[in-house]
């Protein structure tokens, strides 16, 4: 063989190179001009995992947790991975279910999802089930516990104020507020949970994970550079005092009514009770809808927030304000007296007064201390009839303006939803009621807190803040700081000082002095707290219920408003107890105990008897249940009648369209025949 080049060497080399070029061309097109493979690769290998951050925690003014999260477990199943040899008896035993139940759940899972998909087997396992399953988890391949958080209320208090969460409904999803929500997400449905949903919820995170052939998530995709981190919900710090709230709720046990306690310097709500209460833990998790229905049916309406929604005639507790306005418009001077002898005869009807001894209304202070009806009816008339050349309408309007500036007859703007407005009558209302023929005598009861005037307990407490602060208030609110930031934009409106119509400090001093007299030697002796100057006013509000068109006079509401200490007000309070009698009997001691508890941290031993009496008193009348069932029956009948009417209307309109159609057919037929 020679060493000269053989031409076949080049043929073979060319074959080698040719094949390589073909492969390179194919690779070039495959890798650069077929984007579908990139999409496919991402589809099969990248798994988008939505991570829900923990919802914001709610704490009280001293940092004690009111509402937090707790992990719960869902048991998930991947049917394909469950071996045939699984010890079902043991699994059933640890889950505390029987075999038929196991098989029925498994059947449902298989129908709903495919064998390979992981799907829920049992949701919200209780502690015992979780513990027993976890112990033996290695024996049950194909089953997996998945952790998620649910809300937990540390103590069964303040349920209506804290609110609750639930799955977002399809109707809600249509609203712009819920644009970023998806089916199955949780959202606040009432109370603070609803009001502060946006800050409590935090921000969902999206993690891109690589998954393998068996659909198991593995490493973060591209080291997690595309991930958006979840942001935890912000913590809400409340003004609420957990201990005080609990104490107040105890005092209100077995009574219908409410307590609102506000710090006058900030407008922060220290305690808010609407009684009867319920355990907020009932309204979470899978039992929520069932328990909700149960609570909704209760005659005492525990889901109705009486503190912000119930409207009561304030009774005598309005008298400081009647006086305040009368003094400020110049209708009376502090020394003005009225010769009351047990009644007011200035108008055609005689208005009874509790006192008949001479001089009990010798001046403003005395009249307020003794809560003289005659005096306040009279000065109310003087207020609206004040000044020559002014009609009663103009006078009432001026009075109305004052009350509006006290946040009466309108929403205060508290940071829980569905607040009631109350009612402050104006001339329009009376024109309608009395066909324009009315005068100051017609509306005289408003001066003593009866008649058309209606206030919510929240408004009453806020009114106390105004007197305590001598002319200003902050909108009552719960939240002190959001995520430790007291200057959050959401809180800005609660830091605005609202100054009421220009009333000089001296006028407030007179009213405060009179209110102090109420406690020191007036109707509210039971509200005295050792070493603290309490200013207060009792009230006993007459009220009526309308049942089946009949007006029934009910037992009086026991009302009480107060603030303390006078020199440096720290708490303003309003207590309303429905149908229980005199304000001095029930509402005053309860308010006083709450104030003492707040101001002194504990109630002195010598008041233990009062405390026990208040806590143990059962003041829910039996007729509450009767009236409730009557009202519900009537509602049911009204509803049925409405449905029936609609049915009749529909069938009539159907018949009409049918007959129209018949007429048209006949018309057509006739024309055809005619031709």
């Amino acid at each position: 063989m020679s060493l000269t080049a053989n031409p076949r060497r080049y043929v073979i080399s060319i074959i080698f190179i040719g094949v390589a070029i073909v492969m390179l061309l194919r690779l070039f097109f495959l890798q650069n001009f077929e984007p579908k493979y990139k999409i496919l690769a991402n589809d099969i290998a990248i798994y988008k995992k939505v991570v829900y951050p923990p919802r914001g925690v709610i704490i009280d003014r001293k940092g004690r947790t009111l509402l937090s999260n707790t992990p719960i477990y869902d048991l998930m199943i991947t049917p394909r991975n469950v071996p045939k040899t699984l010890d079902t008896a043991e699994l059933c035993a640890s889950l505390n279910i029987d075999k038929p139940a196991y098989e029925s759940i498994l059947g449902k899972v298989l129908v709903r999802n495919l064998e390979v998909r992981q799907s829920p087997f049992m949701e919200l396992l209780n502690e015992e089930q979780t513990a027993r399953f976890q112990e033996n988890a290695y024996k049950f391949p194909g089953f997996e516990l998945i952790e998620r958080n649910i809300r937990i209320y540390e103590k069964p208090i303040a349920g209506l104020m804290l609110g609750y969460i639930g799955e977002v409904s399809p109707e809600m999803l249509k609203k712009p507020r819920y644009a970023s929500y998806r089916q199955g997400d949780y959202t606040g449905l009432s109370g603070l949970e609803l009001q502060y949903e946006e800050v409590l919820r935090g921000q969902r995170g999206v993690h891109y994970l690589e998954r393998d052939k068996f659909n198991r998530p593995r490493d973060p995709y591209r080291g997690g550079e595309l991930d958006s981190q979840e942001i935890s919900g912000k913590q809400l710090e409340l003004y609420l005092d957990m201990e005080l709230q609990e104490y107040a709720e105890k005092l209100m046990a077995n009574k219908i009514g409410s307590i609102v306690a506000i710090d006058p310097k900030t407008g922060g709500i220290l305690a808010m009770v609407s009684s009867p209460t319920y355990d907020p833990n009932l309204l979470r998790g899978k039992a929520r809808s069932r328990n909700y229905a149960k609570l909704y049916r209760e005659a005492t309406r525990p889901l109705f927030n009486r503190a912000t929604q119930a409207m009561y005639p304030p009774g005598s507790t309005i008298k400081p304000f009647t006086g305040l306005v009368a003094l400020n418009v110049g209708a009376i001077t502090p020394n003005y007296g009225y010769p009351c002898h047990g009644g007011y005869g200035g108008c055609s009807r005689k208005i009874a007064c509790e006192h008949s001894d001479a001089g009990h209304a010798a001046n403003f202070r005395a009249a307020l201390a003794h809560s003289c009806n005659s005096y306040f009816c009279h000065i109310f008339r003087m207020t609206v009839d004040n000044n020559e050349g002014q009609t009663v309408k103009q006078g009432l309007q001026l009075w109305h303006d004052y009350y509006t500036s006290f946040a009466y007859g309108r929403q205060t703007g508290i940071d829980i939803p569905y607040e009631g407005k109350g009612l402050v009558p104006d001339s329009n209302l009376y024109n309608k009621m009395y066909n324009k023929s009315w005068n100051s005598c017609t509306i005289v009861f408003v001066g003593m807190g009866q008649g058309e005037l209606l206030l919510t307990p929240l408004q009453m407490a806020n009114g106390m803040c105004i007197i305590a602060n001598k002319g200003y208030y902050y909108t009552p609110h719960f939240v002190k700081s959001i995520g430790k930031n007291e200057k959050d934009t959401l809180l800005r409106k609660y830091q605005e000082k609202h100054v009421v119509l220009n009333i000089p400090d001296t006028t407030f001093t007179i009213v405060q002095q009179a209110m102090q007299d109420v406690v020191d030697h007036g109707t509210a002796g039971g509200a005295k707290i050792d070493g603290i100057t309490v200013c207060a006013k009792t009230g006993t509000a007459e009220n009526k219920a309308v049942v089946n068109g009949e007006v029934i006079k009910m037992q009086n509401h026991s009302m009480f408003v107060a603030f303390a200490p006078r020199e440096n007000p720290k708490i303003a309070i309003a207590v309303a107890i429905e149908n229980s009698g005199y304000g001095a009997t029930w509402a005053a001691p309860i308010a006083s105990l709450v104030m003492e508890k707040y101001l002194k941290d504990s109630v002195t031993y010598k008041r233990k008897a009062v405390e026990d009496k208040m806590m143990n008193a059962k003041l829910i009348n039996r007729y509450v249940y009767t009236i409730d069932s009557v009202i519900r029956l009537r509602d049911q009948m009204v509803y049925e009648a409405k449905v029936e009417r609609k049915r009749i209307k529909d069938s009539i309109s159907n018949a009409e369209t049918n007959s129209l159609y018949n007429k048209w057919i006949n018309y057509k037929l006739k024309r055809k025949k005619g031709i």
Binding site: L3, I12, S13, A20, Q31, A41, I44, D212, R218
Partner: protein, 442 residues
């Protein structure tokens, strides 16, 4: 003669060794990228394939070192003996082989397993080189050509009997070597013609094909009718070609498909052509396989492989970022489909670099072959180049959908001890022989 005075190690071909080391390194990195998990605490984990591959590389280098120290005459002297032993081992394997995924091509001793079919390439190369370089061999004689073909194809037949079709096909690459040594081009063309015939007989209905073939023969006969009139030989050739084609397409192909090829092989071939397996060849499932659904697994493999490579783009996803290969979407991804790891992580640029390294290695080996004084070394070099080429071309083509999926490895890169060891031995024997290129080896 001056080079002979240089020491042995200085006479070794540095370029081949360098390319060899590059490829082996790429291989270990590729296997590592497929197997590495971020949760792994240590790089050295003995249960991982890449560590085993490192150990196999150690064995390979050790054996390579021994080969370098061996006298170059040893390989030619013992070529036939080694070949005979090798054939014997292949025969034993048919009966004593361990069943691995339907093929019985593995011999097992305890936990150690190896594939004689991989190693047989070395001895077949040596034997073929020895036979063709013998002084008494005149390759122009038909008898010698048949002996050459027999040397090359005997192992192929034995491996076919072990049901490892892919590996058997490698031995057909020796015809390229024989072509270099003087085999007429016609035989290669007939080979390609036969492949074309197989494909058409699979694609086209049998009776239609017979009509087409007959029509084609008549057409050719009409065109060359003057030649046919003048020469009887031409008539005989034309008619015999027609007859062979008809018999091949009507009898041979159906027979092979029905009786010889395995279910998965039929599926692979049809998947490459891109049509469904016809009912005629659709084999009943083995009794044990009853539960398995009829899924075209090789089609799935190729799709996953294409997804992995195609998603790599121009520059790839970066080392250890291959979502498809890392997460086991590509089947057999550290053996037959290891190229996906390169294609996905390094993109077109990386793939091209790899292909260029291979082509450089093969051209360098041809260059070594052509500079030899002795025919034995030259023929052996061509054997090595052709085996590498076949493996390289078919393996990469099948990952990108250019060839049917037949289970053969990517030399030096695929995971597997037998494969790495046999290719290393091939290379080291070549380097050893080349070191003595001034010596005439007989």
């Amino acid at each position: 003669m001056s080079t002979i005075r240089k020491s042995l190690f200085n006479r070794l071909d540095g370029i081949v060794l360098l390319l060899y080391i590059m490829l082996v390194t790429i291989g270990i990195l590729a296997i590592f990228s497929v197997e590495h998990r971020t949760t792994d605490t240590s790089l050295i984990m003995m249960n991982k394939s890449y560590m085993r591959q490192v150990i196999w590389l150690g064995y390979s280098l050790f054996i390579g070192f021994i080969i370098i120290l061996t006298d170059s005459k040893f390989f030619s002297s013992f070529a036939f003996l080694l070949y005979t032993i090798c054939i014997a081992v292949l025969i034993i394997t048919i009966f004593a082989g361990v069943d691995v995924k339907g093929s019985r091509s593995w011999l097992g001793v305890g936990s150690f397993r190896f594939q004689p079919g991989e190693v047989a390439k070395i001895f077949t190369s040596l034997a073929l080189a020895k036979f063709l370089s013998l002084n008494e061999t005149n390759f122009k004689k038909l008898k010698n050509r048949f002996i050459g073909a027999a040397i090359a194809l005997t192992p192929a037949v034995l491996i076919l009997l072990q049901k490892e079709t892919g590996l058997a096909l490698v031995y057909f690459t020796f015809f390229l070597v024989m072509y270099r040594e003087g085999l007429p081009i016609g035989i290669l063309l007939i080979g390609f013609g036969a492949i074309a015939l197989v494909l058409t007989s699979l694609l086209i209905d049998r009776i239609t094909l017979a009509i087409i073939l007959t029509g084609l023969t008549i057409l050719i006969g009409y065109i060359i009718r003057s030649t046919l009139k003048r020469k009887i030989g031409a008539r005989i050739i034309l008619i015999s070609v027609w007859l062979v084609a008809i018999i091949f397409s009507q009898v041979a192909v159906p027979f092979v498909f029905k009786n010889i090829l395995q279910k998965h092989q039929i599926e692979r071939i049809y998947s490459m052509i891109g049509i469904e397996v016809p009912n005629e060849y659709n084999k009943a499932f083995a009794p044990g396989d009853e539960k398995k659904e009829k899924t075209n697994s090789s089609e799935y493999n190729v799709l996953q492989s294409k997804i992995a490579i195609g998603s790599g783009g121009m520059f790839g996803k970066g080392y250890l970022n291959g979502t498809s290969t890392k997460n086991q979407f590509v089947p057999e991804q550290n053996t037959d489909f290891i190229f996906c790891a390169v294609g996905e992580q390094f993109g077109f640029v990386g793939s091209a670099v790899l292909i260029i390294i291979y082509i450089s290695l093969m051209l360098r080996i041809i260059h070594l072959g052509e500079r030899q004084r002795s025919d034995f070394t030259r023929i052996y070099a061509y054997c090595v180049a052709c085996i590498l080429f076949f493996h390289f071309a078919v393996n990469i083509s099948m990952t990108i959908g250019l060839a049917p999926v037949i289970g053969i490895t990517l030399p030096f890169i695929s995971y597997g001890g037998s494969s790495l060891l046999s290719f290393s031995i091939l290379i080291f024997i070549l380097v050893r022989l080349d070191a003595d290129r001034q010596v005439l080896i007989r």
